[in-house]
């Protein structure tokens, strides 16, 4: 895949990028450690005040990309521009970018307050200003009561807040967050997602958030940049990436989906026993169909694609259930229904042809 085929890359800016001025521009960045290529041809624009999530599996290169932005690694090729300034080999301490580290990296020999004051102290700000800004910052993350405590004496969630305050007190132009919630338990994690998002709106600083958790990415981001084996697969808003995935990989990584493999011929698509009209050039095609777009029982909407099948499996997911149905010809479709619906062994299925999204094959990469 080349960058020109990514719909929302620098070549075709997304809605956010046109609304807000670009803050950071990553141009054709690649990174290799020896022979091990970690990032390939990354082009990405990050707008002022944007919440951008870099999403990917472990080993996809997302942390490396973040470290290149922070200045801990230098790109093997490509350029990094912040406004009119080229970051190049500028060391991290000269960049107006701050990081919240995965395990917070709070200084164990300093109190919470001293940790937060660190950036201002090394910048030799006047003491009165330091005290005022540190107090404000601690107040913003509700950690004033623990100002004189050492980091080892506070909980993970509290350490998380201190790490945020320590970064934000410097008023960076961009905040980088490296899986900051991964060490927290599920409840606290959800709570921090909301807090983090509202904090970002309040301070208006661009957040670049790295995670492997697609749900987290969906909840928090203005845009998601999905990385796969060192290349950008798609960059789009959560809604767009969910409803219009460009590749089979994206469709599978974000939420559940049915991948329908078939072929187009003479204006008709055939996937197994299913078929519907579509104006596509002849040849093999691949569609993504979300389980919630498949309905059970013949509601008989006009123009719907219909099938019959046998229920294989029913998985309870709280408000909804995921049902695996085997249709004639061996095709298995996953259907999402409201919980508690009584099921026969044999069911009727239907979906609108317009809900089947044409996606590209994702070739295997090393």
């Amino acid at each position: 895949m080349t960058s020109s085929t990514i719909p929302t890359s620098a070549a075709a800016p997304s809605e956010q990028a046109t609304e807000r001025p670009t803050l950071l521009s990553i141009r054709n960045v690649a990174k290799a450690f020896g022979r091990n290529v970690v990032l390939r041809n990354i082009s990405l624009e990050i707008a002022e005040g944007e919440f951008l999530t870099i999403l990917g599996e472990s080993g996809s290169g997302k942390t490396t990309l973040l470290r290149i932005i922070a200045g801990f690694e230098s790109a093997t090729s490509g350029e990094l521009w912040m406004g009119a300034e080229r970051l190049g080999n500028q060391p991290p301490y000269r960049r107006r970018v701050n990081t919240v580290f995965q395990h917070y990296a709070l200084f164990p020999h300093l109190t919470v307050e001293q940790n937060v004051a660190y950036g201002l102290r090394v910048a030799k700000r006047p003491e009165a200003e330091i005290n005022q800004r540190v107090a404000e910052s601690l107040d913003k993350v509700k950690m004033t009561a623990h100002a004189k405590t050492k980091p080892s004496k506070i909980s993970g969630g509290q350490q998380q807040r201190v790490a945020l305050a320590r970064a934000l007190v410097n008023r960076p132009r961009m905040l980088l967050l490296d899986e900051p919630l991964s060490a927290l338990d599920a409840n606290l994690r959800r709570q921090m997602q909301v807090e983090l998002k509202s904090l970002q709106r309040e301070v208006g600083i661009a957040f670049v958030f790295v995670t492997h958790d697609q749900e987290e990415a969906m909840v928090m981001s203005d845009r998601i940049a999905l990385l796969r084996s060192g290349e950008l697969e798609q960059v789009a808003t959560p809604r767009e990436i969910y409803s219009r995935p460009v590749t089979a990989y994206v469709a599978q990584f974000i939420g559940h989906t049915n991948l329908l493999e078939g072929s187009a011929q003479g204006g008709v698509v055939r996937c197994g026993t299913l078929s519907w009209p579509a104006s596509l050039p002849d040849g093999p095609v691949l569609f993504s169909l979300r389980p919630e777009h498949v309905r059970l029982g013949g509601a008989a909407a006009s123009g719907a694609v219909r099938a019959r099948g046998r229920v294989l499996h029913q998985a309870f997911h709280g408000a909804t259930e995921l049902i695996r149905v085997q249709c004639a010809g061996g095709l298995v479709l996953v259907v999402r229904t409201a919980s508690g619906s009584a099921l026969q062994n044999e069911v009727e299925l239907e979906f609108s042809a317009s809900d089947a999204v044409l996606v590209r094959e994702s070739p295997e990469r090393i």
Binding site: G71, F107, V122, A167
Partner: protein, 282 residues
């Protein structure tokens, strides 16, 4: 979980070892320090404080003790000044050569102490490597006589011998500093120098204290370096103890000096450990 017999079997031998080889000898030393020597050169079991009085009153004893502490303090300082940069370089910048360089610091410890002390003798002596080279280069006309048989030679030799002992705990402390703290410091705008003084050095203090204690305590009790290279002006307290237990045949006074040193060293160890605890944050 473990049977009583098993617990006895594993605890008794080490306890017996400590009792036989540590507690009993120290107890004997303690007793000796309160006994006396008769004019006929026999040890009299008459309890008294005369040995301790002599230790405090005769300048030769407390002055030698002070000089030994001064030598040990200099060895400690120079070992730290050499050991710290070495440990810092190895831990942060050596990269792939780290293991090799580490071994090169350790290998001299396998060479006999005596060999290393003698090596300095051949380097520093009047006909030694250093003096002959300097004379050959016409930088000096007569051999420099302060090089050998002086406190200088003792400090130099002990620094050479004990630098690895200062290096090791410092290196261990530096290796334990999470590297993301260094990155966090840079990220917050601190230059490498600021990062060193505000993060790396404070977190390495327990190692520095341990290294300093090693270098100081080991040099304070040393008697071979002053014997071989110290000359009359480089005598240390242990040389006096050796002669009191040997030729001078005054075991009670020797025991009193040894116990005084033991108290000094144990209190030093105690304070150093308290400081180390105060500065450790893991």
């Amino acid at each position: 979980m473990f049977s009583r017999a098993y617990k006895t079997a594993v605890t008794v031998p080490p306890l017996a070892w400590v009792a036989v080889f540590l507690l009993v000898p120290y107890l004997l030393m303690f007793c000796y320090s309160f006994w006396a020597v008769s004019p006929a050169q026999t040890i009299v079991h008459a309890w008294n404080f005369a040995n301790y009085e002599e230790l405090l009153q005769k300048p030769v004893y407390w002055q030698t003790l002070l000089r030994s502490m001064w030598i040990a303090a200099r060895v400690m300082l120079f070992s730290l000044l050499l050991g710290y940069p070495l440990a810092y370089f190895l831990s942060f910048y050596a990269g792939k050569r780290k293991d090799l360089l580490y071994q090169m610091v350790i290998i001299p410890l396998w060479v006999s102490y005596l060999v290393r002390a003698y090596a300095w003798k051949t380097i520093l002596g009047a006909d030694g490597v250093l003096n002959t080279s300097l004379q050959y280069a016409h930088l000096i006309s007569h051999p420099l006589d302060f090089l050998l048989y002086s406190p200088f030679a003792v400090v130099l030799t002990l620094t050479h011998i004990y630098t690895p002992f200062a290096f090791l705990p410092i290196y261990a402390a530096l290796e334990h500093i999470p590297r993301n703290l260094v990155e966090a410091s840079h990220d917050l705008g601190a230059t490498p120098a600021q990062t060193f003084w505000k993060v790396i050095f404070p977190l390495s203090i327990p190692g520095v204290l341990a290294g300093a204690t090693f270098a100081f305590v080991l040099s304070l009790g040393d008697f071979l370096a002053p014997l071989l290279l110290g000359g009359p002006s480089g005598i240390m307290i242990s040389n006096i103890v050796v002669s009191l237990f040997g030729a001078a045949y005054n075991w009670p006074l020797g025991a009193a000096i040894s116990l005084a040193m033991l108290v000094l060293v144990v209190s030093l160890l105690y304070f150093s450990e308290r400081l180390e605890k105060k500065w450790s944050f893991s």
